[in-house]
Structure formats: structure tokens, C-alpha cells
């Protein structure tokens, strides 16, 4: 069992979701998966070596991650309420329409 490869697979899933998914909440879930992959790598390597550093880094990393998640979700709610959809491609089109109307 190699947790480096496990976290690499998790990272790949997260990056794939980040690149292909259009819904804002799915993008957010992809970011969460990438964060889990990174912390999994830290904690598993450190615990296999018997070092407490991995757990300490996880605590600090997740504190930051939670704060960042709160900001992302706040922005996500604002964007969804403003444009009435959570689809990135639709939001881009709506924004382009608004800009072209403003120029005309």
C-alpha cells in the first residue's frame, strides 16, 4: 500500500474535475479533493516515519482551507444570485452580453 500513489490518484481526480466541470459547486468540490490529496500525502508520510510534523501541518493547512472555502462559497452565492445560474459557461456568456450592451 503506497499512500503517495493514493494521494496522486486523488490529485488527478481533483484536477480533472477542476478542468472539466462547469458547475461552480463541482469546481469547489474539486478544490476540496485536491486539498484532501495534499494533506493525505503530508499526514501519511509523516505518520509512516513517526513524525508529528504531518499532523501539525494538517491542522494549519485545514485552518487555511476552511477560511478559503468560506470566501469561495460567499463569492459563489453572490455570483449565483446575480446571474441566476451556477454554470460557468452561462455566466461567461451573460457577462459578455452585458459588456457588449454597455459598449453599444
Amino acid at each position: 500500500m503506497d499512500f503517495v500513489i493514493l494521494s496522486l490518484v486523488m490529485l488527478s481526480i481533483g484536477v480533472y474535475g477542476l478542468l472539466t466541470k462547469r458547475q461552480l459547486l463541482k469546481v469547489f468540490i474539486s478544490v476540496e479533493l485536491i486539498a484532501i490529496a495534499a494533506t493525505l500525502n503530508f499526514v501519511m508520510l509523516a505518520s509512516s516515519l513517526g513524525v508529528g510534523l504531518g499532523e501539525a501541518i494538517l491542522v494549519l493547512a485545514f485552518s487555511t482551507d476552511t477560511a478559503v472555502s468560506a470566501v469561495i462559497l460567499a463569492l459563489l452565492v453572490i455570483v449565483s444570485k446575480k446571474y441566476g445560474t451556477s454554470d460557468i459557461s452561462k455566466i461567461v456568456k451573460l457577462e459578455e452580453n452585458v459588456e457588449s450592451e454597455a459598449e453599444a
Binding site: 500500500m1 503506497d2 499512500f3 503517495v4 500513489i5 493514493l6 490518484v9 486523488m10 481526480i13 480533472y16 474535475g17 466541470k21 458547475q23 461552480l24 459547486l25 463541482k26 469547489f28 468540490i29 474539486s30 476540496e32 479533493l33 484532501i36 494533506t39 493525505l40 499526514v43 501519511m44 508520510l45 509523516a46 505518520s47 509512516s48 516515519l49 513517526g50 513524525v51 508529528g52 510534523l53 504531518g54 499532523e55 501539525a56 501541518i57 494538517l58 491542522v59 494549519l60 485545514f62 485552518s63 487555511t64 482551507d65 476552511t66 477560511a67 478559503v68 468560506a70 470566501v71 462559497l73 460567499a74 463569492l75 459563489l76 452565492v77 453572490i78 449565483s80 451556477s86 454554470d87
Partner: protein, 153 residues
């Protein structure tokens, strides 16, 4: 053996969280990801990390359930059982390399400091992160005030 089962569960739930069409089911699968990760930590001797992961996961999931229900567009059709089966199969296939491949790490000197010592040594970063959290709160308040001022526009 239990670690392998948990790893398969982790990958499968991550794939389901990403590819299920209905947002509530997707968030439920993400809860599985958090749960399996926490169990993996606990079984590898990182109990504190597991508990922390579990606590943070519950908070994140509660907010995600609410926002997922509020914001998501309803899918045109329900996810078919065949698609769910394919996703689970893909997850199991993706977790196989973790069993059969192995990367040998460097065997340098190991610092066997405890969790408390490590956290104390990282207190400089901790202060920076506390500042970051306070900055985040400030940004959040600014966003709320901005929305209140421009409400309805």
C-alpha cells in the same frame, strides 16, 4: 486489508462526488470522502489529524448541503444505476495502482518529535495563518456590506 478497503472507498466516493449529477448526492459522496480520509488517518496512528479532519469535514459539508440545495440547477434526468456502476468500477480500477505500485522513500534521519513539539515549532506559521483567517473574516464582512449597499441591483 482494512486500509485497502478504505482506500477503495476513498477513491470511489471522490469519483461519485465529482460525477453524480444531483448536487445533494454529490455532497453526500463527499462526506464519504471525508469519513474515509479520517479513518485512514486514525488507523495510521494520526488520531488527532483524523478527529480534526472529521470536525472540519462536518462543518464544510453542512454549508455545502445548504448552498448545494440553494444554488444548484435541477438535473434534467436522474442518474441511472448503470452510470453509478460504471463510476464505482472506475473508482476501483483507479485505486489498483496504489496497491501494486510502490515508491521507495529516502531513508534519512527521522525527527521523532511529537505532535505538540511540531506544532510549537511551527508557531510562526500559526501566527501568519491566524492573520490570514482574520483577513478572511474582514473580506467576508466587506462582501456582506457591499451586497447590502447594492442590494436588489
Amino acid at each position: 486489508m482494512i486500509l485497502e478497503v478504505l482506500s477503495i472507498g476513498l477513491i470511489v466516493s471522490a469519483i461519485l462526488a465529482l460525477f453524480l449529477d444531483e448536487m445533494v448526492y454529490s455532497v453526500a459522496a463527499l462526506s464519504g470522502t471525508f469519513f474515509f480520509t479520517a479513518l485512514l488517518y486514525v488507523l495510521n496512528g494520526a488520531a488527532f489529524a483524523g478527529i480534526f479532519q472529521f470536525a472540519v469535514g462536518i462543518g464544510t459539508l453542512a454549508i455545502l448541503f445548504l448552498s448545494g440545495e440553494m444554488l444548484s440547477d435541477k438535473p434534467a434526468k436522474k442518474t441511472s444505476p448503470t452510470k453509478i456502476g460504471v463510476l464505482i468500477g472506475a473508482g476501483v480500477a483507479l485505486s489498483l495502482p496504489a496497491f501494486f505500485l510502490s515508491i521507495s522513500g529516502s531513508s534519512g534521519t527521522v525527527d521523532t518529535s511529537s505532535f505538540g513539539d511540531s506544532l510549537w515549532n511551527l508557531r510562526g506559521i500559526d501566527v501568519v495563518l491566524q492573520a490570514l483567517v482574520i483577513l478572511t473574516v474582514a473580506i467576508g464582512i466587506a462582501i456582506i456590506l457591499y451586497e447590502r449597499r447594492n442590494g436588489g441591483k
